[in-house]
Amino acid sequence: MVINDVISSDQVEVLLNDVLEVYGYDFLEYSHASIKRRITRLFLLDKFVSFAEFRYVVKTDKQYFKRFLEEITVNVTEMFRDPQFYKALRQDVLPNLGTYPFIRIWVAGCSTGEEAYSLAIVLSEINLLHKSLIYATDINPLVLEKAKKGMFPLTYLKGYSENYLQSGGSKEFSSYYIANYSLAKFDQSLSAKMIFSTHNLASDHSFNEFQLILCRNVLIYFDKDLQHKVFNLFDSSIEKLGYLALGSKESLDFWSGAKNYKRIRTEKIWRKL
């Protein structure tokens, strides 16, 4: 399938302007090549015959717009992704938060929740979950519905279990879930410490102060200006000596506020000074 030229760059702009105007979602500051590819992919997947038809349906069909939103944002995630990252959280970051009476964590762009559950497992193993609260947010209400359920396809669990062990986990990973037909349902004690809510990093404000913000593989989809806007948003949401954790290819380096942050040794985790 040759996917270029099905939709032109100008048409992408037109569509994203519609989306901003009608629904208030601003994708104009997203990296163009990547969002164009996702829009083209959806157009072909749903077998539209013309751009005009596609545009009309996106603009007028609220139900279809939900699908549009789900498909053009990337929701690929996994549990204990990059096990070394979780090892660093377990050993070098979270224990420092143990002295706080209450630990507030924000998982920004949580998608279907795999990272929030991974984090809750680590917190429970170092006896901090009882005094923690994980705010898991995403732009997309549909993925949050899935995240709330805490059910993940059983076929992925073997990989997750290996990740978990490599990240320094020592229990039976299967003790955290019940296998039910093709799904693994994770323990209620984990989700009891989570609050799910929609939040749009491109337009919404800070809503609390946190000791740790996790935002992994979200910023790669934003252009530099929007990235810096989001760093400012995070900065106003992290307490002094709190942490910011990014994806393995993301960095604070070119942001003006970076001088107030110190990176921990190996992973993409920074501490606010």
Partner: protein, 194 residues
């Protein structure tokens, strides 16, 4: 109407490969001219764990600067950019790199198709793409796009490939400008843009 197409202009070279492609890269890299003045992007399928090994192996064989691609990095002539394991690499109109963690394409991330397709649109007739050895169909659709935009499609001679499936598929479905073996490949690259 006057024909004003410049034949040998190369603004970027992308080399994609899967199983059996590392041998080819290791063979051609020592022969690459240090005078190469266009960016080279390498997209190969590999395990996420051997992250920096490929960068190291290739850097040890050339005077060109070899780095793993970073998001928003500006492509510069004479530099070699390696698509990081587990991320798609796309090229933006302003010749910067975007990384993308979306679904695998052809069971692969990075996918060769994704990089070929996005770069085809940016560099048009000044893009050269080489597809190497491999055992799946990744890269073939990407080459079709490169062809549509007037870029150059170069395919490793399947007879010289450890895994001939991928280059053979490409030859079947895309009309290549050139089929080269490993021995002449470096020479071909050195002459681009000269």
């Amino acid at each position: 109407m006057a024909e004003t197409v410049i034949q040998n202009n190369c603004d970027a070279l992308i080399i994609g490969g899967s199983a059996g492609s590392l041998d080819v890269l290791l063979e051609i890299f020592p022969h690459l001219s240090p005078k190469i003045n266009f960016p080279i992007i390498i997209v190969t399928h590999r395990k996420a764990s051997n992250e920096s090994l490929l960068t190291y192996l290739l850097q040890s064989r050339t005077k060109l600067k070899v780095t793993e691609a970073e998001e928003k990095q500006v492509l510069e002539g004479g530099n070699v950019y390696i698509a990081p394991a587990d991320y798609h690499l796309l090229v933006e109109q302003n010749k910067t790199i975007s990384l993308d963690y979306s679904e695998k394409v052809n069971y692969s991330r990075p996918s060769i198709d994704v990089t070929f397709e996005s770069a085809a649109e940016v560099f048009k007739q000044n893009l050269v793409c080489i597809l190497l050895s491999g055992s799946n169909g990744d890269g073939v659709d990407g080459l079709k796009t490169v062809n549509n935009y007037g870029g150059k499609v170069v395919i490793q001679d399947p007879k010289s490939a450890v895994m001939p499936y991928m280059p053979q598929q490409a030859i079947t479905y895309v009309s290549p400008h050139l089929i080269v073996d490993c021995v002449t490949m470096a020479d071909y690259i050195n002459k681009l843009n000269s």
